[in-house]
């Protein structure tokens, strides 16, 4: 008598066999004590495996709204179809050039706002000085402390030094011509049969909402309480504006995540407040500015509570964290909004 091979009993218990194979096995089991015993042993093994793997389950896993992820997916499709494709597939030098232009806009925007807005809670000094003061604590600022921390890695500005120099040499330099003449990004083209999901944004197309701020990295939508827990109550909120979405981005095991809060103003425009390590935040904002052809502006950074993270030398490293407000508004307005920023 041919007994049932062990792997076949596994497949049988896993319901991976066809109906006819199951019937054949069941007929054999009815007559064969040895195979029945084998089946019982394998069933026990299978159950124990499930139980052991069950020990490794995560707790408190909360599924974000499908719509929230769909928004981000729409952004990806825009990137695949729109101008961003060009920069993604361009040579590293071209991409860095674009980032440098974005950084120039960031810095120029900050410079142009200088003097228009009282210091408020922002860091003292010009944007360049603020970035320098953030950079000096990170340990990466030697040689070029001014740009070492808040610029994209690879320091695009070094390869295109003209842009920041220009802003320093001429404080009246304005980035507006680029903003005014830049063509608006193409919005999402939905695939046939797919409609944009209903979103809590009532006055703005959902795809526009996400496409207008292509922040790099993996963002996860979280409820308020989870964001507060993950960031140590450092969720940056603009007082008086309704919150649409809170997202976090994982940085490392020792650091609090980046957190980004999307708000909507009464006219329907989306304004984001972002809090995180100065260097990573600078990278993201510079990238967003480059990818939106300078249409997005940012406020002056406001320093928040730093983190102390483990370094390879063993001594804790102080990681400077800042918050900033970004959106398609002029810099003066964004700076003004930092006065209403509450970090909690």
């Amino acid at each position: 008598m041919r007994h049932i091979p062990e792997e076949e009993l596994h497949a049988y218990l896993d319901q991976a066999l066809s109906r006819s194979q199951c019937v054949e096995i069941e007929c054999h089991l009815a007559d064969c004590i040895r195979c029945r015993h084998g089946r019982d042993q394998i069933a026990a093994l299978r159950d124990r495996t499930t139980a052991l793997l069950g020990e490794l389950s995560t707790v408190g896993s909360q599924r974000p709204a499908f719509a929230a992820l769909m928004i981000q997916a729409n952004t990806r499709r825009v990137e695949l179809q729109g101008p961003a494709t060009r920069s993604r597939h361009a040579s590293p030098w071209a991409r860095r050039g674009a980032q440098a232009a974005g950084v120039a806009l960031l810095l120029a925007a900050g410079w142009s706002a200088r003097g228009l807005v009282p210091a408020g809670p922002a860091l003292a000094g010009t944007p360049l000085q603020q970035l320098a003061s953030a950079a000096e604590f990170t340990g990466f600022g030697t040689g070029a402390p001014l740009l070492g921390s808040f610029l994209p890695r690879g320091n695009a500005a070094n390869r295109s030094p003209a842009a920041p120099t220009q802003t320093q040499a001429d404080p009246n330099w304005q980035p507006d011509p680029i903003e005014r003449t830049a063509p608006r990004r193409a919005l999402v083209t939905e695939a046939p049969g797919v409609t944009t999901m209903a979103l809590t944004v009532s006055t703005l197309d959902a795809s526009d909402y996400s496409a207008e701020f292509p922040a790099s990295g993996v963002w996860r939508s979280v409820p308020w309480a989870e964001a507060a827990a993950l960031t140590g109550d450092a969720v940056p909120r603009i007082h008086g504006l309704p919150v649409l979405e809170i997202q976090v981005q994982w940085i490392g095991p020792d650091e609090r995540p980046l957190v980004m809060v999307a708000h909507q103003d009464p006219s329907g425009r989306i304004i984001r407040s972002i809090e995180g390590p100065a260097d990573r935040l600078g990278e993201i904002l510079a990238d967003v500015i480059a990818r939106t052809d300078g249409a997005v502006h940012t406020s002056q950074p406001v320093r928040t509570t730093p983190d102390y993270v483990n370094s390879t030398s063993g001594a804790p490293r102080r990681s400077i964290r800042v918050a900033a407000i970004a959106g398609r508004l002029d810099v003066a307005t964004l700076d003004e909004l930092t006065k209403s920023l509450t970090i909690r």
Binding site: D14, I42, L45, R46, S57, A73
Partner: protein, 172 residues
């Protein structure tokens, strides 16, 4: 397609998080990656979304492991992180016991070969034999053999550890 994806998302998200967690050993990171997986699925609209989701999850986990090594996080990966996954309301003694068990299961899993572990985790995530075969590159008929070996080895290793732990406790 959207409805299908939404249904898949609702029914599979937890499995994908669990699958990823057992590869990256970081609950937050597993959730980040799971969201990334579904965002990609929504953007790409694959023909076989379920298999596609797990294939992308496996790839992301592999990338994550590489970057984790680059970040010299391997020490963290090999040590227990008991506090992270203990249920907050669990009494301290139970939590310690739970963490010990978790550490043992992780160690037992790490003894399996990459392929055996992958197949076992995919099966535990609810994938069918043909789906596992497609993703792992095995023949459908070989999935049962692989699973049989993986289960047996996992349990044997765990039991051996458990016996050693009890022996150690008896001596101390």
């Amino acid at each position: 397609m959207k409805d299908e994806l939404e249904r898949l998302y609702q029914t599979t998200y937890a499995s994908v998080v669990r699958f990823l967690y057992r590869k990256v050993w970081d609950a937050d990171r597993a959730e980040d990656l799971a969201q990334e997986v579904f965002i990609r699925a929504m953007a790409h609209r694959p023909e076989k979304p379920r298999a596609w989701v797990f294939a992308v999850a496996a790839n992301l986990a592999r990338d994550e492991a590489r970057s984790a090594i680059r970040r010299r996080r391997h020490l963290t990966l090999l040590t227990n992180e008991p506090a992270m996954l203990s249920a907050p309301e669990m009494p301290a003694d139970e939590a310690v016991e739970h963490d010990e068990r978790m550490g043992q299961v992780r160690e037992a899993l790490s003894v399996l070969s990459d392929r055996d572990r992958e197949v076992l985790l995919l099966w535990d995530a609810g994938m069918s034999y043909p789906e596992i075969a497609e993703q792992s590159g095995l023949a459908v008929g070989a999935v049962g053999t692989t699973l049989a070996r993986a289960r047996k080895r996992l349990i044997e290793t765990y039991d051996r550890q458990e016996a050693g732990r009890k022996q150690h406790a008896a001596h101390s």
